[in-house]
Amino acid sequence: MIPELGHLALVLALCLALVQAILPVYGFVRSRPDYLGVAAPAAVGQFVMLGLSFCSLAYAFYANDFSVAYVAENSNTQLPWFYRIAAVWGAHEGSLLLWMMLLSTWSVAVAFASRSLPRDVSSCVLAVMGSISSGFLIFTLFTSNPFARVFPAPAQGRDLNPLLQDPGMVFHPPMLYMGYVGFCVAFAFAITALITGRVDSAWTRWTRPWTLAAWMFLTTGITLGSWWAYNELGWGGWWFWDPVENASFMPWLVGTALIHSLAVTEKRGIFKSWTVLLAITAFSLCLLGTFLVRSGVLISVHAFVTNPTRGIYILSFFGVVVGSSLVLYAVRAPRFEAGTEPVEVLSREGLLLLNNIFLVVAAAAVLIGTLYPILAAGLGLGRISVGPPYFDKVFVPLTAPLVVLIGAASVMAWKRTRPQTLRSRLWLPLLLAIIVGVLLPWVTLGTWGVAAVAGCVLGSWAIVSALEDVVRRVRGSRLMLPRQIMGQTLAHVGVGVFVIGVSLVSAFGSERDVRMAPGQSVVFAGYNFTFHGVEEQKGPNYTSQTGEFTVAHNGRVISHLHPAKRHYVESDALMTESGIDDGVFRDLYLSLGEPLADKAWSVRIYYRPFVRWIWAGGFLAALGGLLALSDKRYWRRQKVRHSARVRASTQTVDA
């Protein structure tokens, strides 16, 4: 009964999404405010219906209702309850439902937060979001209904993919999707700007917080994903240039460019068409990512669907959305007034222009590497794969200059900056960065290498120069800094921390495969690993062979590690659980290979210096986004407007 209610709610959500998409457009064309006003209540209704639908599916999982095919395929009575809930988004149908649920959450947020916007703007934004939502609802209802029943109902489900049975999995997809879908808001604002023909500072002030919020979620989602991969895949790596990772990374690159270009458009009133184009591109890449993951053209950890109908539908939906918005752009964008003054190289807008160029080119390089094998296969050029070395070779030279630019970010003033100012303010940070960068690997790891030092200098440069700005401001005014500035600083510090982590882990990270019998010891990277044997254990839905290892350093035992090999009973799948001794400066990472003769096991030992800094950098950047988002200027203005409007309406009543 409940699954049918969920299905019905999904159908109603589609009806409301169509209302939300179509009526405001009619109202806009005919200048009928009553039709425009339908958008917000329709968005709320759609949210309620999707929420109902989502809860029904979650309940079906919670109650182990295996007559629902999707539940039977992705759950099991032995599965702990929190994984049963997380299993809602463990495969194709449910993750689409999550996608739409989050999209309607954003729509409702827009409906409530944009009461201060002109009615035609907010309705137009909601109409665009409604049409995207209808596209996905139609797709779900006709090709991937999560509520489809199977009769007779199986007595037991097939279990959730063991790879996904990890705490990281509970949070990673919702965060990532929040980011993906969040760029839909920026996209909707861009389309609205094209329709109404207005890109002014008010428009950028509305668009900025939404873009920032989406970016923050995407950053968190990608960071969590990388962390999950490190913990769960047992390969000791944090980024694999897997096509699905790239699918989330491309919108991130373009979204980062968008945040920076929005700043220029707000402060200086230039780059208008460029900003609008970036907003369209960012969301198009989100759709492309969805297409790549959902259509089964990719071979990947994440690609669980191989169904051509779905692929064709998503591809044509992608074509319609991107094609129509680009046509609209081509027709309307030339009307935006371009700035008349030339952009100085030594100015903040010049700096941000460079930032944008590098980010967009980097995104294009990733796009080529991701799509080329698919195109080649489609055109019959042979089955080709583009390996991580391509991405490393292209990506590092393209992003290193970006980090250099970060250092100048706070010093560079709008319009024009004198070279002397740059010199006088940046020599000390540069000197400090070089000292820290040279000393850091030597003090913490006792080793040295050209690439590692270069990376550390680069990272410290970003950190030190960002802090210089804070120190100078605090000393100068003694006031609390605006949160936006603190957010920017924190995000740039995060980039620096990330760069240090990446360069040290790739320079000094090492691994070794060894055969170990119980009682045997191996010395690796200065640590003594002793194997004590393997013990059989039982989990809720798996049996585990858990190894017992001790790690000693300088004759003192510093850690006990328990890497395990799990056998998930219902799905008959083996999973490696790594044993990790984490630390600020290094991780020691063990994973069990396979049993060999005489109770010996093949064991893989990884030494990963500074690997935690990578995720710390990502989370710092996301936190910076959150801090900037909480800046008063985004909130105060709306309150003032709101009270002004209330006053205006009371005056009319008085009159």
Binding site: N161, L163, F304, I357, I368, R383, Y390, A573, L596, R604
Partner: protein, 153 residues
């Protein structure tokens, strides 16, 4: 030529040089890192050059897995028509089993052995990489495909 003009020319020139460098860089990186996918029957037929790195995909031939001393493993990767001996030293993935579809990365030596530097198995045993699945199709249908995979397709 005025100062602003000269500066703008410099800027445009700089951007152009940068873009050219980026394109050159990516093209060279691209051509060096493309990896082809070959199947055992192509290799046995001698159509694959020696000493270039490529991927091979197929099923692990039943009864072919032999462990040597230490971590060396010998097995064969087969498609419907032929099989190629593979030599690998290291840890095999969780889903490596006789009869399973795998992909190995490495080079062919002069004795016709494939020296693998990494071996991947699919993460979901009910799922097979389209590249491997395609080559296992014979004219009669999926005759070499393991039974559990035939059912899911």
């Amino acid at each position: 030529m005025t100062r602003t003009r000269r500066r703008r020319l410099l800027l445009v020139g700089g951007l152009f040089v940068g873009l050219a460098a980026a394109v050159a860089l990516s093209l060279s990186a691209f051509s060096q890192n493309l990896m082809y996918f070959h199947q055992p029957s192509q290799i046995v037929a001698g159509k694959v050059p020696l000493n270039t790195r490529f991927r091979i995909g197929g099923l692990v031939k039943r009864g072919s897995v032999q462990r040597g001393r230490g971590l060396t493993v010998r097995f064969s990767i087969a498609d419907c028509k032929a099989s190629v001996p593979v030599l690998f030293k290291g840890t095999l993935p969780d889903l490596f089993r006789p009869g399973q579809g795998v992909i190995a990365y490495g080079k062919l030596n002069s004795k016709g052995q494939f020296i693998a530097d990494s071996v991947l198995a699919k993460h979901d045993q009910n799922y097979m990489s389209p590249a491997v699945a395609k080559e296992l199709k014979t004219k009669q249908g999926n005759s070499c495909m393991p039974a559990n995979l035939q059912a899911s397709r």
